[in-house]
């Protein structure tokens, strides 16, 4: 069903079905929930966007957690110890 109204709106700011399908296929490798579903064109666009957001937030949390652990490591190691030397060689 042709929708004149939507075609009149700026095409640059709407995501077309083709583009969404393309995005879903690329995100499939990252998002297992979508991978398990049926065909890509059946997955709702809003679900894909939501899962993508969640995934990015998850990655942010991981970076934060890893930075935490690393700064603790640098703290707990005595400056002159052999462990400190190893860590510094890994990092710097």
């Amino acid at each position: 069903m042709s929708n004149r109204r939507s075609r009149q709106s700026s095409s640059a700011s709407r995501i077309s079905d083709d583009q969404m399908i393309d995005l879903v296929s690329k995100l499939r490798q990252f998002l297992p929930e979508i991978h398990e579903r049926r065909r890509s064109d059946k997955v709702s666009a809003s679900k894909v966007l939501q899962e993508t957001c969640n995934y990015i937030r998850k990655l942010h949390r991981e970076v934060d957690n890893l930075s935490d652990r690393l700064s603790q490591l640098l703290d707990s190691v005595d400056e002159d110890s052999p462990e400190a030397a190893v860590i510094r060689s890994l990092l710097m």
């Binding site: 640059a12 690329k26 809003s46 935490d68 490591l73 703290d75 190691v77 860590i87």
Partner: protein
């Protein structure tokens, strides 16, 4: 479309260089300061992989520069990427919600069928989720073009995975070393 080993290597090298430059914020400082330095250097390293070709990476560099202008600039010159700072960013698009809502109200009055209402509802949901994406991708609020936003998102995800993979390997190795 996965992080390549060359991306991992390049990130590691740049991050290591960055950590050296951030030493003053790492040695003999609080755990909080140290964590901030670690994250900043990791973000600059990640953003520099794209050599200024993506909007998110330019926006991220700008953001790290506001947190520690001096050290970020030092790091950029250390990894030979001075040009990345002050790269032009697209102008911030201000969305005039009132106007959009008013025009949507007028359109809505005309549509009476239930299926049209459902479609409109779905569109609104997509719009909301897209806005959510803008909030988590650096520079997202500057990308009014949804297609661009999606492309940038994909690139950002691959870069984040690189950052996470390398950081995880280092931290795991370091923790294993301590436990010995």
């Amino acid at each position: 479309m996965q992080p390549t080993s060359s991306m991992n290597e390049e990130f590691l090298k740049k991050w290591q260089m960055g950590l050296q430059i951030f030493r003053p914020s790492i040695d003999n400082t609080s755990v909080h300061e140290r964590k901030k330095a670690i994250k900043l250097s990791a973000d600059v390293a990640m953003a520099s992989l794209r050599k200024g070709t993506t909007c998110w990476s330019r926006a991220l560099i700008e953001k790290t520069a506001t947190e520690d202008n001096f050290l970020v600039r030092q790091m950029l010159s250390g990894i030979k990427a001075e040009s990345l700072i002050n790269k032009k960013l697209p102008k911030k698009i201000v969305c005039h919600r009132k106007i959009v809502r008013r025009s949507k109200k007028i359109l809505r009055r005309k549509s009476k069928s239930a299926s049209e209402e459902a479609a409109a509802k779905a569109k609104r949901l997509v719009k909301r989720r897209t806005q959510g994406l803008r909030n988590v991708v650096p520079g997202g609020e500057l990308m009014s073009n949804d297609v661009l936003l999606l492309q940038e998102t994909l690139d950002y995800i691959v870069s984040l995975q690189t950052q996470v993979n390398v950081m995880r390997s280092i931290v795991d190795a370091a923790e294993a070393e301590i436990e010995r």
